[in-house]
């Protein structure tokens, strides 16, 4: 007696709908993706109930890390190139073409201008490990003030956002704010995290 043969069917499922969905999502995420830029330093921003969103373009970001170092960042490739030229002229330093290109690409930096050239010459992947001392904001040597001033001259519509770490001492923040006030910047934004508004009774 022949053995009853178990009919073998290839286990195949129609994956088409799943693939459709997967590609739809891939397309969606690809189009909406704005990759998070490599920040020079990680800061833990305080939370607030404020619901204003920071706009996408024309923003100067002044980052204050928890060890009181100050970083400066601005968006716009063209702005950055021109800004670097102006600052180079002001401080009497020169940058080569390659350094200018690099400067246009990095989101923020925290080195004094005389060290900026060598910082920009560090190859990309290693630049993250470079110890950046922060931009000087002392009253005698306030380079942050000049960076902000030159940027505002180039792009008058720029707004200033301060991204401070929870643990920065007020002294440093005060220095940054005073610097801005001295340059007649009286409206600025503090970058914060979201927090639900508590109910008051």
């Amino acid at each position: 007696m022949p053995k009853a043969k178990v009919k073998r069917t290839k286990p195949s499922i129609d994956m088409t709908p799943m693939v459709d969905l997967a590609f739809l999502l891939v397309t969606f995420f690809m189009l909406t993706a704005t990759p998070t830029p490599d920040e020079a330093v990680i800061v833990d921003t305080p939370s607030s109930v404020s619901e204003i969103k920071l706009r996408d373009a024309d923003v100067i970001t002044i980052t204050v890390s928890n060890d009181n170092r100050v970083f400066f960042g601005v968006d716009g490739k063209h702005t950055k190139e021109t800004l670097l030229d102006r600052m180079a002229q002001k401080y009497g330093v020169t940058f080569n073409e390659e350094q200018r290109q690099t400067f246009a690409l990095i989101p923020s930096f925290g080195v004094p201008i005389n060290q900026l050239g060598s910082f920009l010459s560090v190859p990309g992947p290693e630049r993250k490990d470079v110890n950046q001392p922060g931009i000087p904001i002392d009253s005698v040597n306030n380079q942050l003030s000049d960076w902000v001033w030159e940027t505002r001259k180039l792009n008058p519509s720029v707004i200033i956002a301060i991204k401070g770490d929870v643990d920065v001492s007020y002294e440093t923040v005060d220095k940054v704010i005073s610097t801005l006030e001295a340059r007649k910047v009286n409206t600025f934004n503090l970058i914060t995290d979201m927090e639900t508004r508590p109910t008051i009774n």
């Binding site: 195949s12 994956m15 088409t16 799943m18 693939v19 997967a22 590609f23 999502l25 891939v26 995420f29 690809m30 909406t32 993706a33 704005t34 990759p35 998070t36 921003t45 305080p46 607030s48 109930v49 404020s50 619901e51 204003i52 969103k53 920071l54 996408d56 204050v64 956002a161 991204k163 401070g164 770490d165 929870v166 643990d167 920065v168 001492s169 007020y170 002294e171 440093t172 923040v173 005060d174 704010i177 006030e181 007649k184 009286n186 409206t187 600025f188 934004n189 503090l190 970058i191 914060t192 995290d193 979201m194 927090e195 508004r197 508590p198 008051i200």
Partner: protein, 172 residues
């Protein structure tokens, strides 16, 4: 792979018929790739735009007429101290006023209750002066601005700390 086998089968029939090819396609690698990309983009996308808080500081034009003096009865001074402590007193802190410095914190029953108290809320002229000390941290400043927003206090200003205030804190 599948197509070759089916071609071999088609030799059997007498009439040459257009063989119906199976439309099955092994989609597994494509699905693998699709989901890999999907995961990648999902993880790298940052949806949340950063939140901000807008601060306006008074314009310093060095014009005396811009400096409106505040009556001591219409002022609440908040000093941000060390270890997230909040000190406050009513008035401007002149030594002859002999202000009573109280200490509180950022909890729900802390400075918020002071800002919501009758003495502050019922006085439309009340101006809150925020004076962070050197010992305070950035979070304290943001928190106190936040409290202003939560309690809907409109008139407040960030002011530099004075020697008088330092004395008051030292003497308590």
């Amino acid at each position: 792979m599948a197509e070759i086998q089916e071609k071999a089968d088609s030799g059997k029939g007498g009439k040459k018929r257009a063989k119906k090819m199976s439309t099955h396609l092994d989609m597994t690698p494509m699905v693998d790739l699709a989901f890999l990309l999907l995961t990648f983009f999902m993880l790298t996308t940052s949806f949340s735009k950063p939140q901000t808080m807008e601060i306006r500081t008074p314009i310093d034009e060095n014009k005396p007429e811009n400096d409106t003096p505040i009556k001591a009865s219409n002022a609440l001074t908040i000093l941000l101290g060390e270890e997230d402590k909040v000190y406050y007193y009513f008035g401007l802190g002149n030594p002859d006023e002999n202000p009573e410095v109280e200490v509180t914190d950022f909890s729900n029953n802390g400075i918020r209750q002071v800002l919501l108290s009758q003495r502050v809320k019922d006085n439309p002229k009340m101006v809150v002066m925020i004076k962070p000390t050197e010992a305070s941290r950035y979070k304290n400043m943001v928190d106190i601005f936040d409290e202003m927003k939560i309690t809907d206090t409109k008139k407040f200003a960030l002011v530099d700390i004075t020697e008088q205030d330092k004395q008051l804190l030292a003497n308590r």
